[in-house]
């Protein structure tokens, strides 16, 4: 099986190398009109997860906005510090079209700890539960935490952030403001 699949994989990788372009430099004529807001014509990131109230939330509904998706877990202390800083940024820039969405990678058996943390640190942004790692595994297969994806108004990934060091929020702010200004 591996002998047959490997050449196919190599072909896929070659295609990726020859037929791809960075989203930031994409020649696609996507504007910011209604079509772009729906993500038409782009391979924008989309997924659906439930929030703490048990209601499904679809990321694609935020097309037209700049979105930072932050992956975290209850046992990850740097994640908690980063989320506090990101919440400040979100509150400041929300009116200009910036949204913060967090994806909690905790398994189901520690949902109690997640609910504690959300209240303890007064998180006001959406907290989505990824208890089967369906979304985390797709965007962060090495499961490094914290991990962040910055999406432009078309939902395309423009930057990834792995780990948190105090001051990283300044880098995120700069990137967000660049995208908001486009």
């Amino acid at each position: 099986m591996s002998e047959r699949l490997l050449p196919a994989l190599g072909l896929a990788a070659l295609l990726a190398l020859t037929g791809c372009s960075g989203a930031g430099a994409s020649a696609r004529p996507d504007g910011e009109g209604p079509e772009a807001a729906r993500g038409a014509g782009s391979a924008g990131v989309d997924f659906s997860l439930k929030d703490l109230a048990g209601k499904p939330v679809r990321l694609g509904a935020l097309r037209g906005k700049v979105v930072f998706v932050s992956f975290w877990a209850s046992w990850c202390e740097p994640c908690q510090i980063e989320l506090a800083r990101l919440q400040e940024l979100w509150k400041e820039l929300q009116g200009r079209g910036f949204e913060l969405v967090s994806v909690c990678a905790d398994p189901a058996d520690s949902e109690g700890a997640v609910r504690q943390l959300v209240h303890r640190y007064r998180y006001e942004f959406p907290v989505l539960l990824d208890q089967e790692s369906r979304v985390s595994d797709r965007f962060n297969p090495t499961m490094d935490l914290p991990f962040g994806l910055l999406l432009d108004r078309q939902g395309r990934v423009t930057a990834r952030h792995q780990g948190y060091r105090p001051g990283d929020e300044l880098t995120v702010r700069k990137e967000v403001e660049e995208l908001l200004a486009r």
Partner: protein, 564 residues
């Protein structure tokens, strides 16, 4: 095969060099398909040089290994394809592994087993996400309820990544949701240290349904059937059940007046022992699980209450033995019932236990201070005796934010295990975790964090004291680098009570103090390079009630993560 892997590696390196600073996702223009597509590529490459770890054994020293993990994720509209290509190459090998037959992985033939051949497929999956349904073929993770009946998931700290290889479907119609799945368990690297990747090939099939009532209450039911070792690969089959069935009901109020939540679950377990001799009549044994969790958040206070009662709640398998059938005892659990204790506690028995937990946190709105307290009380069956033990775990702490992004935290806990019969093991553990993060300037910071455990054991009036801990002093320059010094200590393996750098065990030096340094470079958010050199302590590592013994490490470890 090798040339293809080398081509991929070269292509990844070229991408790294050419990638712009903020690495975007790659968009594909597929000429035969008028649909937008995106590719995410993640490469993890780990090289380790194992020097003498001074653990009193020389059969795990003096070798190097290189592990690569290349994950390709292709998304075309709502279609997903994921392939994880892995390789394990040993330069030299630990004496412990010499002469042993590596296991075959079910994606490759016997001659291609990891350790023999450097490249194999770790995980492969394809799926489609529609609004009202999802379908997955290949490897997937799965959880029903709070993990009492089924939880097949990744556990990084334990080096485990088990999936189910099969099919999974989910659909929703109005307030009703249904999930159905079936497949064979695919365990990755449960025992890489001994050059073995053994799949137990257990068959797991499950069905879960839930309905939301009055937009307030979720009511659900689930059933899971485990058939252990259906292919007859495991020469330890007599130590496994043949069939296990779990069926349960659950009720959840995820948000009540936006201040409270409630979760209740009850499960019944039936298990049929594996016949030791052909034709042997065996009888079903029964178990159950009851679990409740309530959460209330009122103003500055939040309160959690959990209670559980488990009897015979065990869904554990063993990975198949090799030709000598003796050495591989890696155990995998397909459920993960809540332990009600901090996740790193050494929970010996989470199958036959009852108890509860109360946790309280208080954070005045106008303060940057947080106060925490929790109490867990458990009544647990003792394995190997008819007795029980009472366990309590009391923990409290304080957290203080300062200077914007600075934070200090201290948690102190006391855990006591007392048997209800004479001669049983008595354990007393005093544990502390502490951390402080100090911003120096906008981009520069210092950090100190660590843990300290002081343990006292008494068995048949024979006392034994030990200490364990690890402290990290770090400096970070955002977003470029982080450097740290790591100091660890562990007197338990040597049996000594005093902390000296080396203990003498029958003429063999046993290292008790460990010092390492690490440097992490973050390059353009495309590559993260970590280098660690020195010694790291090993020992028993427990995560959420599942424990595994790791050897101490001495040498150099380099890992590189690439993302495109």
């Amino acid at each position: 095969m090798r040339s293809c892997t080398q081509t991929l590696a070269a292509a990844l390196l070229a991408l790294l060099l050419l990638a712009p600073r903020a690495a975007p996702a790659l968009e594909l223009e597929l000429p035969w398909l008028d649909l937008p597509a995106a590719v995410d590529v993640t490469g993890l490459h780990v090289f380790e040089h194992h020097a003498d770890n001074l653990n009193g054994q020389d059969d795990d020293d003096g070798y190097q290994d290189l592990r690569n993990q290349l994950t390709l994720k292709l998304a075309i509209e709502r279609f997903r394809l994921s392939v994880r290509l892995e390789s394990v190459t040993f330069f030299g090998e630990p004496a412990r592994a010499a002469g042993r037959v590596p296991f075959s992985d079910h994606y490759v033939g016997e001659e291609d087993a990891p350790g023999n051949n450097p490249t194999f497929f770790g995980k492969v999956s394809a799926g489609y996400d529609a609004d009202a349904w999802r379908a997955e073929l290949g490897d997937f993770y799965a959880t029903f309820g709070r993990g009492l009946a089924l939880r097949v998931h990744k556990s990084d700290p334990l080096g485990e990544d088990t999936t189910i290889l099969g099919a999974k479907g989910w659909f929703t119609a109005g307030p009703v949701e249904v999930t159905a799945l079936s497949g064979l368990t695919n365990a990755s690297s449960p025992d890489l240290y001994e050059k073995t990747v053994a799949d137990p090939w257990d068959l797991v099939s499950g069905l879960s349904a839930s309905a939301r009532i009055a937009d307030l209450v979720d009511v659900g039911a689930h059933g899971v059937w485990y058939l252990f070792d259906p292919a007859g690969l495991n020469d330890q089959a007599s130590m496994l059940p043949d069939h296990t069935v779990l069926a349960g009901l659950r009720v959840e109020v995820p948000s009540l007046l936006e201040v409270a939540s409630l979760y209740l679950e009850g499960d019944w377990l039936g298990s049929l022992p594996h016949p030791i001799v052909e034709g042997q009549e065996t009888e079903w044994s029964h178990g159950y699980a009851l679990y409740a969790h309530g959460h209330v958040a009122l103003g500055d206070v939040s309160l959690d209450l959990e209670a559980k009662s488990y009897r015979g709640l065990d869904v554990t398998t063993r990975t198949p033995g090799g030709d000598d059938g003796q050495y591989n005892s890696a155990q995998l659990s397909y459920i993960r019932p809540p332990t009600l204790e901090p996740e790193d506690m050494e929970v010996e028995n989470n199958h036959d236990v009852s108890g509860g937990r109360l946790e309280l946190s208080y954070r005045p709105n106008s303060w940057d201070t947080l106060l925490l307290a929790s109490y867990t009380g458990l009544w647990s069956k003792d394995y190997g005796s008819a007795g029980h033990r009472y366990i309590y775990n009391l923990r409290g702490g304080v957290e203080q934010d300062f200077l914007g992004s600075g934070r200090a935290r201290v948690l102190v806990g006391l855990r006591e295990e007392t048997p209800d019969y004479a001669g049983g093991l008595h354990q007393h553990l005093l544990y502390t975790t502490a951390s402080v993060k100090i911003p120096l300037t906008e981009r520069h910071s210092l950090e100190l964090h660590g843990t300290h455990w002081k343990r006292h054991k008494r068995w048949a009036d024979e006392p034994h004291d030990s200490i364990q801990g690890e402290w990290v002093l770090g400096y970070a320059w955002s977003p470029w680098l982080a450097a740290s010094l790591i100091f660890g200590y562990d007197t338990e393996p040597s049996g000594e009570t005093e902390l000296e750098i080396f203990a003498d065990r029958g003429g063999e030096p046993i290292r008790q103090a460990f010092l390492a340094g690490s440097l992490t470079l973050n390059l353009w958010s495309t590559a993260v390079i970590r280098v660690l050199g020195g010694q790291m302590r090993g020992g028993l590592k427990c995560i959420e009630g599942v424990c595994k013994v790791f050897p101490p490490f001495a040498g150099v470890r380099t890992d590189v993560t690439l993302r495109f």
